[in-house]
């Protein structure tokens, strides 16, 4: 099922949670709504799921106006961060809940319910746990039960609100990959809310970045990472080094490096900043590039991070560079060493007032 939002606005008192949102979710997409807390991502998800009614605008399901459909009629599977498993029911009863509360005519027979629940538990690899209570399961297992429960009603859309937020990083990683595989197998439309850009990029095929109730950018993960449309998006999607762009004699510089050739430089009186990701800094011999001193070296498995104090820059604002382990093994940078920096890529934005 495809979902479309048209001009959706929701106020809480004086505070606009989401403002005039237009968004299309094609059938079978796995879309991530990414943003900080308070960006409106959860409100948007709740509006799609029917847990909130928008003040203005429309929610379309397959082109039909579903704005005021009651939640029970929408066929959405909801998964919450805190699982919201029914504590007094076993895993089996939790998953069967959506089937058992159907109206008499629509309710499957008891054996049919049992078969269906067992299928779902097999799908989430929890067949062994069907008579356990939620309290007896780990966080990751609980979230898989919640997912199975949501899928029991054959939802057209799966809505996941920070589903892995309460789990530790190892389990998060596994569950993300598992969710992605599941989605590829079953092909329902899914929307996942997260504040973790890593998670969004890893799991989704479209990322929607929200900021203060508005959409900053929509795109596939590569695009949004490589071509951020604003400094906000650029900063949000990973580590960045920020350097002022200096204008001298009609040419633009980052430190001593002349960047005038790059087309995107805006000349004029506006102050600009350049954002450079750590892996976009190339570190080499002191003779070439912007001279700098190595302040710190941290080896983190396959990568190595260097803190660099560029000449003419304050020492308490070092730049962070990321190089491969192989390169580090070859060059053997040491603290205090003089090096030269070059920038492989950068992006220039007007500095915020």
């Amino acid at each position: 099922m495809s979902i479309a939002l048209r001009g959706v606005t929701k106020q809480f008192g004086q505070y606009a949670a989401v403002e005039n949102i237009d968004l299309d979710v094609p059938t079978g997409a796995l879309m991530a709504l990414l943003g900080r807390s308070g960006s409106g991502k959860t409100t948007l998800l709740r509006i799609i799921g029917g847990l909130e009614t928008p003040d203005q605008g429309q929610v379309l399901f397959d082109g039909q106006d579903a704005t005021l459909w009651p939640i029970g009629d929408r066929k959405v599977g909801f998964v919450f961060q805190q699982y919201a498993l029914f504590r007094h029911m076993t895993v089996f009863e939790n998953v069967a809940f959506g089937l058992k509360v159907k109206r008499r005519g629509e309710r499957p027979s008891a054996p049919a319910i049992r078969t269906k629940v067992q299928e779902l538990l097999a799908l989430v690899q929890l067949s062994w746990a069907h008579d356990r209570y939620p309290a007896q399961l780990s966080g990751g297992q609980r979230q898989r039960v919640a997912l199975a429960r949501a899928m029991a009603i054959d939802p057209k859309v799966l809505l996941l609100d920070e589903p892995f937020g309460a789990l530790d990083s190892q389990v998060r990683h596994e569950l993300r990959r598992w969710l992605r595989r599941l989605h590829d197998e079953l092909h329902f439309t899914s929307i996942i809310v997260t504040h973790d850009q890593q998670e969004a990029i890893e799991v989704a095929d479209t990322v929607v970045l929200l900021n203060q109730g508005k959409i900053e950018q929509v795109g596939i993960p590569d695009e949004i990472y490589d071509l951020p449309r604003s400094a906000f998006v650029h900063r949000f999607l990973g580590q960045v080094n920020e350097l002022p762009v200096l204008l001298r004699d009609g040419r633009a510089y980052i430190g001593p490096i002349d960047i005038s050739a790059a087309a995107e430089v805006q000349t004029g009186s506006a102050r600009n900043i350049a954002l450079i990701r750590p892996h976009e800094i190339e570190v080499g011999q002191a003779s070439a590039g912007w001279p700098a001193t190595v302040l710190a070296v941290r080896v983190i498995g396959p990568i190595v991070r260097l803190d660099l104090c560029a000449d003419d820059r304050p020492i308490h604002e070092p730049l962070e560079a990321e190089i491969s382990r192989e390169r580090f093994e070859a060059e053997r940078f040491t603290i205090g060493q003089r090096v030269g920096m070059r920038f492989r890529r950068w992006q220039v934005y007007p500095a915020a007032a």
């Binding site: 939640i71 919450f80 029914f86």
Partner: protein, 279 residues
Amino acid sequence: MGRLLLIVTALLFLCVFLVLPLLVVFAQALAKGFEVYYLAILAPMAWAAVKLTLLVAAIAVPLNLIFGVAAAWAIAKFNFRGKSALITLIDLPFAVSPVIAGMIFILVFGTHGWFGGYLRAHHIRVVFAVPGIVLATMFVTFPFIARELIPVMQSQGKDDEETALSLGATGWQTFWRVTLPNIRWGLLYGVLLCNARAMGEFGAVSVVAGHIRGVTNTMPLHVEILYNEYNYTAAFAVASLLALLALLTLAGKSILEWRQPELRHAVRRPRDRTRRAYS
């Protein structure tokens, strides 16, 4: 040394003010032996009082239970203006003297009260009759269940209910199958406290009852009558039943607190619990 002194002081204080009063009830009740005790308890008037007390509690507690669940649902699951004022109003009966609690129903339903003429014309007795006793009991036990349930429901949030609705459950199905099981211990806790007060209320009931023997005497009133007739053994015998009820209530309360530690300290912390409503 200081520690020992503190413990001894505390225990001595509790002994004088808690243990001795409780012991003296049973000692006096059994002062003339078990036979006299049984006779006092099995006396027809005593039985009538027991039955009336049970009847009053059987009406007042369920009504306050329904109210408590409704109030907690509205307050814990929704935001609306005037919520804090409503919570304060629910606590109001705790600030009213039991005597005044009884008096207000005389003012409304008594011979010279607002509805006195109407009630007399239709031969309905409220004051000096069972309905008055029930009303006064309902008034004094009014806040108990609501104030236990409000924080319990608030702490549980709305996720469970929203999930149930998204899975296609109706409002009633959600309430019966999801909400009620979640709040059952808090509910029981409130019922326990409400029931203890309902069966033990004296001041309010005494004002509206009119002391008609065998008709409007609850157990606490019967204790008073026996006591004022210098029938001490019988008075303490009936009192011992009420003391037993109190001990059972405390035991039940301790068990529930052990099952649900967050219920502890729930008896009398009006503000800090309601404050959570807004955080």
